[in-house]
Amino acid sequence: MNETEVKTNPQGDPITSVAAPPSATKKDPHAEAKRQKVVTPEYMFHEAPRTKEFITGSEAAKEAVRRSNVDLAIAYPITPQSETMQLVGVLYGEGYVKEYYRGEEEVGVMAAIAGGSRAGVRCYTATAGPGTLRGLEGIASWPGHRLPVVAMFTCRVVNAPLAIQPDNIEVSYLLNCGMIVFHAENQQDMFDFTMAGFTISEKNDVTLPVGVCCDGFFVTHARGYVRMQDRGIKLPPREAWRGAVPVLDAENPPARLSRDAPVQKSNFMAYNIHAVWQQEVWAAVERSRKYINKYMGGLLTAENVEGADAIIIASGSAAAQSREAVRLCKEKGLNVGLIKVRSLRPFPTQELRQLCAKTKLIVVPEFNYVGWLAKEVATAIYGYSKAKIIGGPRVYGGQSMPVELIVDEVESGLTGKKSTNVAMSQIMGGTVNPDDVAHFMRSI
């Protein structure tokens, strides 16, 4: 080899390796994605055949994104609660997601997602715990800007000291943003809620972001059976021109009629416009009910509630534990039903009023300290049910929830047998019964 034939890198070092010879059999990594066929949401959700696979929640989210015709996904994969965005990156490599990159942190990610949605493309991201709160300023602005987005929140501890264990306290921060909020119990819910979320969020009369929450770790890292449609089909693309607001198009003069920020030019009318703007966001949340009923089969599911003496109301992983608690209660001769709340925003107020009208006891187990679901339930059914509401049991900081805790609350509520717990509702109400505390201390 003479000197002129030596190839070097920019630093002048000789390159000793040689490029692999072009292969006649090299496959197009996007080939499968290119063959995907668009189907209607109605076919996708109600008619398409499904096959069952045993996968993690993160993988379920990935498979949902694969079938959702996503244009843009932006990752800041907070460690280690969810590998979802890493897996969505694989989809980008395979051509199922058109654009994908890693943001610098959650503020940037949520802002960039807003930009993508304003520009008219279908956007997806996921975060967890402290990441959710860091991005919350941007997230909370999405509804007001009427931005269809699907964001996954794989809940973990947010309080100091930080931890990576599941605790869904962050859901309480999302409930009042004006976005639609679903709470997934398991891997199947992660799959279904994510896909339905895209469809619902982009309906003209909704045009809102959808948050799909789950109790991280339990759902994201654990495997479960998920029934999925064929990966060769996908949802229709976003029709941004049908949105409730015009898309941002900086290249054409009508961009000037876009979404200037009226509320920041303060005068009397600015307050008025801001007020009706908020009314409109929440009206859009209300309008999503019919689509949740259509594509997800309802804001809640109910099991054995007709004539039940007690009803356990739960969401997320607590619903799974509660289902087992119902079985144990039945062995004890207790007639107990279960309501699993799937949609937290909009909240199934009318449904709960109807289902809880005649029961004697309601138990609301939760994976957080503050009991946000118990408060929601109590507010919803106040004046419509005479049931005693026990806000608990509650576990937090990453604890798992022994089923016996739930059974104990039901049994004590129905029979008067002393609970080995002190129900959180009693403590928070400032009416701690010393006898209960004494009993609790003896029990431990």
Binding site: P254, R259, A270, N272, I273, A275, V276, E280
Partner: protein
């Protein structure tokens, strides 16, 4: 005159509804399904009933006005142009009607000219300024239409109507949905039928649209015009200037 035989209690009626009334959604009003309409907040299975009531209100209320929005005013595509022309057919059936555009959604500062435009951030100023007691919104993006309708109901006595290309508007007193070119033309035909039933005649010279003061100045002092003379042609002729909204004004408002 009585405009309906329906005895149900109406929910969404001309205001002023108050300082900050609940939205229609908060009052339990939900949007109609295809083929249906909303009749003062009540679900009306037959949208033609709603359209007939729209016609009666526009033909009998002082200073009735059509507010076309950006989806009609700008020639986004040929379909938008066709819908704009069909909307002018509605205007052509209403004697003394005014047409005031909503060309964009940015607030007009330092002060809106109510004879020039209406704006979703302070729509009541245009309603008050022209003493409008019935109006039709058409071609406005739904979010901004909803803001506008809420504010008008809160602060004015105007009967609001929305001809919507999507799913309709709860906060309008009368609304229909899925309004493509064909449906807008059908609305014009129903307006014609109702007008003839009521014995209301159009001016023989066809100039039934009344200019606002500002519009009159732009048109050399002319007070009325024939709306069909403004019908745009396909191919990008829809522009701000078409509706008396010059590029210079756009710059000023920025």
């Amino acid at each position: 005159m009585a405009t309906t035989q329906d005895t149900r209690e109406r929910i969404i009626v001309p205001g002023p509804a108050g300082f900050h009334p609940p939205s229609a959604a908060q009052l339990g009003v939900s949007l109609p399904d295809p083929g249906q309409g909303l009749f003062y907040g009540l679900l009306e299975p037959n949208e033609d009933v709603v359209i007939e009531e729209m016609a009666r209100k526009m033909l009998t209320s002082p200073n009735a006005t059509i507010f076309p929005g950006p989806l009609l005013l700008w020639a986004w595509n040929d379909h938008a142009v066709e819908k704009a022309k069909a909307t002018l057919e509605i205007a052509a059936q209403i004697p003394e009607v005014m047409i005031i555009p909503m060309p964009d959604y940015r607030p007009k500062y330092p002060k809106i000219d109510p004879e020039e435009v209406i704006n979703p951030n302070h729509p009541n100023l245009t309603i008050w300024g022209n003493k409008i007691e019935a109006c039709i919104f058409i071609g406005v993006h739904c979010h901004y239409a909803n803001l506008t309708l809420k504010m008008i109901r809160a602060g004015t006595n105007c009967c609001t109507m929305a001809i919507c290309a999507e799913q309709g508007h709860e906060d309008a007193m009368l609304t229909i949905r899925d309004s493509d070119t064909l449906k807008i033309k059908r609305v014009a035909q129903i307006f014609k039928k109702v007008r003839e039933q009521m014995g209301i005649k159009l001016p023989e010279n066809g100039q039934n649209v009344r200019f606002t003061g500002t519009q009159s100045k732009v048109h050399g002092g002319q007070t009325h015009t024939n709306p069909m003379a403004f019908a745009p042609t396909p191919g990008g002729t829809g522009s701000a200037a078409m509706f008396g909204h010059s590029a210079e004004q756009m710059k000023r408002e920025g």
